[in-house]
């Protein structure tokens, strides 16, 4: 296991204010974020793990039915004994509520507030549609990063198809606010109820006609009403988007890129790494979950023939070879990532059971940070790994 990667992650857990955990869907991002949260809390920091997930992943891995949409403290003593100074909190971001709260807080007047909250378009898009999760995650991140109850905020990013969507959300929002599009929408001819095709210029008329045939005037009208209702809040949006941008480029923040050995998740991590590099955002470490362990590792070769009947021997060798093939494919994948980026990755073996509670989360973190001995190598398999294997009994 790589000492440099280990040190980088370990220091980040001790020093950073915000850690963003990114990666493709299904690679164990949430578990990774939660496991790192436990580790940092055990080192004495006050940690909040925040997930933006409409389903209940984090809650499941914390052994809870559901998480509230505001920070809730977990009972760290269950894994730490009584001496620890650190605390661990968790929450799920409720996109709609965050959006509502934002409106409540920043709307210029009561009337404006009502106009937004009652807007049909708003009521639909604020909770239901892709994209609003990312915007709200950014807003929430900004808010939490200033919350003095916490030393570290670990953000589990929304389950986007492209992990990068998350990173680009503030840029997209700023791009949107920057262009003439809003001014265009906010022109008088789009004002609610007074929609008219009488526009000042020929180009304007053509643009409107096209927009009508492509999207429909009603859509545009609703949209412009929606945007109009937000008038007065744009400066604030823009200002906060700029602050998130600055935060994510500062040394108070860091990105943990999570992948599995599956090629497309590694590609995503690679691409992400490249983008971080280009935009001057601080990379912390690659964590590769679900790495198949090499079944041969840790078992010394021997010459004596084994005393097993042929049929069983054949089946045993087959299963062994199958597992070895998976392990080798994984190793090649990881080597490719390391070769391209020049970074070494932290490898977490595939566990034989799912993570159900804080204790198992701690075990996962121990393995990740190499504190339970070498997690991926052979026979002296980590205590944590064994306990995770034992958890399978409970699953049944």
């Amino acid at each position: 296991m790589s000492a440099a990667a280990l040190q980088s992650l370990s220091r980040a857990l001790d020093e950073r204010r915000v850690l963003v955990v990114c990666g493709a869907g299904g690679v164990g991002k949430t578990t990774t974020a939660a496991a790192l949260g436990v580790q940092s809390a055990l080192r004495g920091r006050r940690v909040l793990v925040c997930t933006i997930d409409p389903s209940r992943r984090l809650a499941t891995s914390l052994g809870l039915d559901r998480l509230p949409d505001r920070p809730r403290e977990l009972d760290l003593a269950r894994v730490a004994g009584s001496g620890t100074r650190g605390t661990l909190w968790a929450m799920t971001l409720d996109t709609k509520r965050t959006f509502d709260a934002l409106v409540e807080k920043h709307a210029a007047t009561d009337a404006a507030r009502r106009r937004i909250l009652d807007n049909r378009f708003y009521r639909q898009v604020s909770s239901a549609l892709a994209g609003s999760h990312e915007y709200m995650a950014m807003e929430k991140l900004l808010e939490l990063s200033a919350d003095e109850r916490f030393d570290l905020v670990l953000l589990d990013t929304p389950p986007t198809r492209h992990a990068l969507d998350f990173l680009e959300a503030p840029e997209r929002l700023m791009g949107f606010l920057d262009t003439g599009i809003l001014r265009w929408f906010l022109k008088p001819y789009f004002v609610a109820g007074r929609l008219t095709l009488k526009v000042a210029t020929r180009t304007g008329a053509i643009a409107l006609k096209i927009a009508d045939s492509v999207l429909g005037l009603q859509f545009l009208q609703d949209l412009s009403e929606f945007f109009l209702a937000f008038e007065g809040m744009y400066a604030g949006f823009k200002e906060r988007a700029g602050r998130v941008r600055a935060l994510l480029r500062s040394d108070r923040a860091g990105f943990v890129l999570v992948a599995s050995p599956a090629p497309h998740t590694l590609d995503e991590a690679l691409y992400f790494h490249q983008r971080l590099d280009q935009s001057g955002m601080p990379f912390v470490a690659f964590v590769i979950n679900r790495v198949h362990p090499d079944p041969a590792q840790g078992f010394p070769a021997t010459r004596a023939a084994a005393d097993v009947d042929d049929e069983l021997a054949e089946a045993l060798v087959e299963v062994f070879q199958d597992q070895r093939r998976l392990a080798r494919a994984d190793r090649r994948s990881v080597e490719r990532l390391e070769g391209v980026t020049g970074e070494s990755a932290l490898l977490v073996p595939e566990f034989d059971a799912d993570v159900h509670d804080l204790r198992e989360l701690k075990d996962v973190g121990d393995v990740m940070l190499g504190e339970a001995g070498s997690g991926r190598r052979g026979r002296g398999r980590a205590r944590g790994t064994r306990r995770l294997a034992a958890a399978e009994g409970r699953a049944r």
């Binding site: 299904g26 409409p54 898009v125 892709a130 389950p159 492509v214 021997a313 034989d352 059971a353 399978e392």
Partner: protein, 317 residues
């Protein structure tokens, strides 16, 4: 039987948590349908690595490509679909070009919530409606869609409902309603949910099932449990393995394979097999729809023979 039911539709939508192998399952399903002589279109949405690579083909783009006789593939990229839509609607070339070149249009599309999803679903509807020849017949007998894994698998399918509520009149609302009625038409459309035998994937599959039914009025007709660890030893052999593993036996089974290592690997397999069984039962207990298991493939890379073997499993299910 499961295959009969799915292939009787025009549209099969695969949904499920990211990383469960939807594109593999989708390609296998397409191959199984093709083996029955159907003309298939397999649709992916903005796939960074399109499934055509499994068949040794280069990446397909936004135009349908017949990668095998009777099997076409397409990878729909939302911005391209939107551009195409603008071009078709505006008709006047110069105007369309002007619109497409405008930064306002680009940024609007990037920021307008739900519009990309709606465009893609609209395109799927158009492909479903395509007719060829005389007498007219559908261009494709079956369209299989690998729905984007937004983690929250419903986000994609929910867009038409949201859009038709948010924008009741005009082309956007009208299209949204047409798409929604296609999705809800159980004669034409089937939702199949893919999971793997793991806690979160199964939890999410069940959530997806419940929400699709309750919120969207779309019922899942089948579940596919992918990457299953299947029995490799007889019951007696498993007992022997567990006994011998606890006895620290030594010796060599084959070149490079010690008994000790093989026993450890076998125990690992047994644990995984039991987990598979556990999650399969859990899924079966929770849903009425049939659950089809597909085995974990121990190949270095997924290729056509591997996919054909999965297709056969689907045929036999």
């Amino acid at each position: 039987m499961v295959l009969d039911d799915l292939l009787a539709r025009r549209l099969v939508i695969l949904s499920g948590k990211g990383g469960v192998g939807k594109s593999v399952v989708g390609t296998a399903l397409a191959l199984a349908a093709r083996a029955r002589g159907k003309r298939i279109l397999f649709i992916e949405v903005d796939a960074p690595l399109p499934a055509s690579r499994y068949l040794g083909e280069g990446p397909v783009g936004g135009r349908e490509k017949e990668v095998r006789p009777g099997l076409s593939m397409v990878n729909l990229v939302p911005t391209d679909v939107m551009d195409e839509y603008v071009r078709e609607t505006v008709r006047v070339d110069m105007l369309a070009r002007k619109v497409l070149a405008s930064p306002i249009y680009r940024r609007f599309f990037a920021a307008a919530p739900g519009l990309p999803e709606l465009m893609v679903l609209g395109k799927i509807m158009v492909l479903e409606e395509e007719r060829v020849g005389w007498p007219r017949r559908p261009k494709y007998d079956l369209i299989v869609v690998d729905a984007p894994a937004t983690g929250h698998g419903l986000a994609f399918l929910r867009v038409p409902l949201v859009a038709s509520n948010a924008v009741p009149v005009g082309p956007v609302g009208a299209n949204a309603r047409r798409i929604l009625s296609l999705l809800r038409d159980t004669k034409k459309t089937a939702l199949a949910i893919v999971a793997v035998p793991e806690e979160m994937a199964v939890v999410e599959a069940l959530e997806l099932h419940a929400m699709a039914g309750k919120e969207l009025g779309i019922e899942a007709r089948a579940f596919v449990l992918n990457q299953c660890h299947e029995r490799r030893f007889t019951g007696a052999q498993e007992t022997e393995i567990l006994r011998r593993a606890s006895e620290d036996e030594d010796g060599r089974l084959a070149p490079g394979v010690t008994l000790e290592a093989a026993l450890a690997a076998a125990r690992r397999h047994i644990r995984r097999r039991k987990l598979t069984q556990f999650y399969r039962k859990r899924l079966e207990r929770a849903v009425d729809a049939p659950v089809v298991s597909l085995p974990l493939l121990f190949t270095d890379r997924i290729d056509e023979p591997a996919l054909e073997s999965l297709a056969e499993r689907l045929e036999a299910a």
